[in-house]
Structure formats: structure tokens, C-alpha cells
Point group: C2
């Protein structure tokens, strides 16, 4: 049954049921003023005729797209895809769809994507910033048009918006202190992009723990990178070739931490005895590598849920002043890669 004619519209249904298009429009969304009978007739006809609402038309007229945008660096990271699932869970409950865009950690692409999101007229925006985005002008349009925004994880500190993040300082402090309590004396740190606040905070937490335990910070033990697998490997190599190499590494993500373990293993350096390693994120890799990786767990799904929940709260109650920061607890998950003491 090829039916390549025109798409079915509410006018076609109206004709078929012998009511006005307006009535059809109302019936389809269960408007209270339409009689049960008419509503049923309309819906039956709509189904039989293969009607599907035309979202662009509806959006144009109603100025609502029932779509929220989610901007992330990449979806192929465990944290991000789980985070998105959390957002979707709430959005779907509210009858909303989710429009995902990836910046690939490039500011330029993030800007393009933000514009595309606005052109699509999303009803709200959830953002985790690209690694190298430094200006936030591209989000002004949303602000100026009262489109709710929530930033999550990688947030801009100097913007008056809702933010959801973990306590990076405390998490890093705990991770580092754990290494110290395991007897490590020279603890290296893999840090990320220096201007991205989450990495700044992790570094601060690391430094604070050293200081509080009377250990000296050593700049040669602190590296900056994108924290990719290759970077992790190379940084470990360099560190272990130092005149006085570290006896532990606290990495700002798991990817680089896993590389550190693998490099050490490849060189016959025993983990954790000679080199203790702690990561950040609790990616699936962490529990599978051997020795398993001690790391910081944070609830990605829950953070996604919270971000979406706050977004809808803003939409429904726009009187709300919206620049609160929510801090989510993390957990130090101790595994083999740092266990020196029984």
C-alpha cells in the first residue's frame, strides 16, 4: 500500500470526522472542552489515517518545541553517556525529547552547536563545557531570551546560571590523602586543561592534602594534558625516568590512570608497591584493569537527572532566580592499585 500522496493533516481528519480543524487540534491533546465522543472519533480517525503531528508546524505556532538540548564534549565516554541517560529519563517523563550535540572539546564547535540549538528553538539547555572553551558569549542568546540553562560538571564559574558539579577539591583531597596514608611520599599529579575549573580544583585539593600532611609539592611531578590514553602513557614514562621518580600518581581521570598502570606493568614496575595509582571517574575500565584502579566515583546518571530536574523547575517557575550551585557527593573507591598496606 504505497501512499505517496500528501501527508495527513488535521484538516484531513476534520473533513473525515466532520468537525472543524480546531476541534481536531483540541481533541488530539485531550482538551477538556471537547466531548468524550468527539475526542474518541478524532483519535480513531487520526490513527486510521496514519496521522502524525507536524512538529515544526506546532513549534512555530506554539513557540514550544518540547525539546531540550544537551551539549557535551563527546558521547563516547562512560560518564557522558550515562549522564545523558539521566537527562533523558527526566525529559521523557515530561514528554520532552533530547537533542544532543558534541563539541569534541573544541570551543569553535561548541559555539556552532549553541547557535544550532538556538535556531532549533530548544526549550532549555544543559551544558557541559568543551575542554578549551573560554568565552561564554555564545550562551547569551539563551539568557536574553529567557531560555533556561543548567551547566553540569564542567561549568563556568563566572556565569550566573544554575550549576551542578561535584566537590572536585574534596574528592582530590581525599584521593591524595589516601595515597599519603598508604605511605606514598612523592605523589605526581596528572592535571587537565589549566583553565577548566574542575581540573584547577582537583589540583588544589591535591596540593592541599600534600601540605596538610607536611609533604612538599614538586612542580616537576605535575603535568598538564588532555588526559588521553597516549598522554597518560607518555607522562608516566617521563615521570618514571626522572632522577627521583614519583612513588604514586593521582590522575584527574581514569583513562590516563589506566595508561599509567599499563606503562608501569610493561616496564616491570609493580603497582601498587613501586607505583601507586589513583584515578578519577570510576569508568568501567577501572574495575577491569589489573591491578584494579582506585578512583573517585560520582553519580553520572543522578547528575543528569538533577540537571534536567532543575531545568524543568526553571521552566515551570520562571520567577526563580537561577544561579544556585549544587554540589554532589563523590566517593573514593579503594581498589588494588593503591593498596600498599594490608
Amino acid at each position: 500500500m504505497k501512499n505517496r500522496t500528501k501527508q495527513v493533516t488535521i484538516y484531513d481528519i476534520a473533513k473525515s470526522v466532520q468537525v472543524s480543524p480546531a476541534t481536531v487540534s483540541r481533541a488530539l491533546k485531550d482538551h477538556y472542552s471537547i466531548s468524550q465522543e468527539t475526542t474518541q472519533n478524532v483519535k480513531r480517525a487520526a490513527k486510521e489515517m496514519g496521522y502524525f503531528p507536524n512538529s515544526p508546524a506546532s513549534s512555530l505556532r506554539s513557540k514550544k518545541t518540547n525539546t531540550i538540548g544537551v551539549m557535551v564534549s563527546r558521547i563516547n565516554r562512560p560518564f557522558m553517556s550515562t549522564f545523558i541517560s539521566g537527562v533523558e529519563a527526566v525529559a521523557n517523563e515530561k514528554g520532552c525529547h533530547v537533542f544532543i550535540s558534541q563539541s569534541e572539546d573544541k570551543a569553535e564547535k561548541e559555539i556552532e552547536n549553541a547557535h544550532a540549538m538556538f535556531s532549533a528553538r530548544v526549550d532549555g539547555l544543559i551544558v557541559s563545557l568543551a575542554m578549551d572553551s573560554r568565552s561564554y558569549k555564545h550562551f547569551d542568546v539563551f539568557r536574553n531570551n529567557d531560555i533556561p540553562m543548567v551547566f553540569a560538571d564542567r561549568v563556568p564559574l563566572d556565569l550566573e546560571v544554575n550549576k551542578i558539579m561535584i566537590d572536585n577539591f574534596q574528592a582530590a583531597y581525599n584521593a591524595t590523602e589516601h595515597l599519603i596514608l598508604q605511605g606514598c611520599k612523592r605523589i605526581a599529579h596528572f592535571s587537565g586543561a589549566a583553565h577548566r575549573n574542575i581540573y584547577k580544583q582537583r589540583k588544589k585539593g591535591y596540593l592541599a592534602a600534600l601540605k596538610n600532611h607536611g609533604l612538599l609539592a614538586d612542580d616537576t611531578l605535575i603535568t598538564n594534558s588532555n588526559l588521553g590514553a597516549n598522554e597518560g602513557w607518555e607522562m608516566t614514562k617521563k615521570l618514571l625516568n626522572l632522577a627521583s621518580p614519583p612513588d604514586a600518581i593521582f590522575s584527574a581521570n581514569d583513562t590516563a590512570a589506566v595508561s599509567a598502570i599499563r606503562y608501569a606493568k610493561s616496564m616491570g614496575i609493580s603497582v601498587p608497591e613501586k607505583l601507586a595509582v589513583v584515578g578519577f571517574n570510576d569508568d568501567p575500565l577501572a574495575s577491569i584493569i589489573s591491578p584494579s584502579l582506585t578512583t573517585i566515583a560520582h553519580p553520572a546518571f543522578e547528575i543528569g537527572r538533577m540537571a534536567a530536574a532543575q531545568l524543568f523547575e526553571q521552566k515551570e517557575n520562571s520567577a526563580l532566580v537561577s544561579s544556585k550551585t549544587t554540589v554532589v557527593k563523590t566517593q573514593l573507591v579503594i581498589r588494588e592499585s593503591s593498596m600498599r598496606q594490608g
Copy 2:
């Protein structure tokens, strides 16, 4: 600078530049008939005034959304997120955006999503089926309205559409033969949903390899499941408790294979000496678990690219009859989990 008035439209630009809205519309898309000067003036004004095209309006009028839909089971799997990146690479080149939806492997949700995709009036659709979807009626709308579709990876066999898939039979055959050549005699198989073709083919390839090498197939060694981590663990447990347990497992995915290795390790059963394991997909986990996992690699990104390329080909040349099947080569990646012979 709060500017919470009305959004800027081409009418506003028209007034400002003193031309008609039609001219603005054309200038903004570099229509050949508009003079360079006017075009520049219009664009400058558009920028200054903070204009962003209203996609819903444009879509309504032009019947093009410049959006293609991608339907997958879940994005938080390495294969899928890489696949999507491949699709996006091509789509972005063509000035298109990508609308992602997740079925969570549930037919019901896949149906809902298909309808939402049609309502959004996507210009094309790329689909990898949900684990348990058996009817394909929900894709009829697209067919009937001449909206191009490409199926990838998990494809329906009995639908006349473009399909891109790997040679599951051959890949499974190779994997199983490899185990046989390593001296394994009782090879178990973790299979997926019985009606999903990719799993059927993998099972067939497995059986064919056994047969060709004079080994008897044993139904007690073949399991069906969703191939999750828990399932992998439990199935391995059961198999190893059999009166005559297997000496190898060929799993239809890496997740379950990794669980098999972990269970064996937890029981002090050495891999690959007592139990050889081969997986499928070459997820990141495969090279990180110890012993590292022998598996089948297939080019996720490339498959995504091809799917998108075929979609645009169909759009641009709709005369094309579109029901070809493209088969992509796979590779057996041999690692430690199956290496019994030096």
C-alpha cells in the same frame, strides 16, 4: 544588556536594511540573484541584530529539516557511540544535524521513537534495531513518504531497504576455528536474542566451524541471553559446573566474554590454559583486561560513515532502487585469552 523583547526575524532585518523580507531570506542563503552588496549588508545587519534563523519555521515552509535521525539501542556502548560519530562526521559535512534516540533495546520504545522521528520530519533515518523488536511496521511511514532509510548492524532481513552489516557468519567462523586450532575441543557459545539476525549468523558460523573440523555441537554448551555482564558471569558459572565443562567460550559480545574471564579468574581457573575465551566487538575493555581478550574487531566509525553516505546518496538520487546490502570486513584480533600454543 537584557533584550527580552521579541526575537529578531527577517522582517526586522528587512526594515533595517531597507529591502524586502524575500531579499533578506535569499541573501542569507547566498542566493545567486542577489547582489554582492545587498548580501553583505543583510548579513552584517543580521549579525549585529543577533539574528538566528527559526528552524521550525523554515522547516515548515521548505519541508526540509536538515536533520537526520539515528535510532540505536543505547549510546553508552563503545560500538554505538563510535558509530554515531561516524554518522555525524558525514552529516555535518552536508550541513545536517543528527537527532539521536535510544530504544534501550525495547521494541515499545523503538516504536515511540520512530513516531517521534517522523513527527520531527527528519530528512532521513539510520537505524540499528532494538534487541527485541520483531515487527517493522513503525518504519512504514518513512517508506510511504519516501524518506530514505538505512539500517546498520542490527538489520531486518525481510525489509527492502539499504543495509550495512558485517559478515557475522564469517567472523564467528573465524573466531571458532581459531579456538579449534588452539586445541580446544569443547567450545561453548554465548548467543544473543535468537530472532536477531546478527546473533543467528554468529551461531551458524560457530556451528559451521565445529562441523567442518569434526567437532560435535552440544546444545548444553550454547546459551541465550542479553549478553550483559551479570549474564556472562552466571552463564560461565553454570557451564563450568557441568559434568563435562567446556574448555573454551566464544561469546557474541565482549561484555559477556570479559565476565567469563573474571569469573574464571575468581575461581582460580587459568585462562587460556583451562578456559580459552574469544569475544566480539573489540571494545576498549578487551585490550585492558588481563589476560587480554581475543575478539572480533569491526570498524564502527566507518560503518557509521557508510550508513550516512548511503543515506545522502539516496536523498540526492531518489531514482535509485534502494535495497542493497553492504558487507563490511571484520578482523580477528588475537590476544592472550586464547593463546594456548606459543
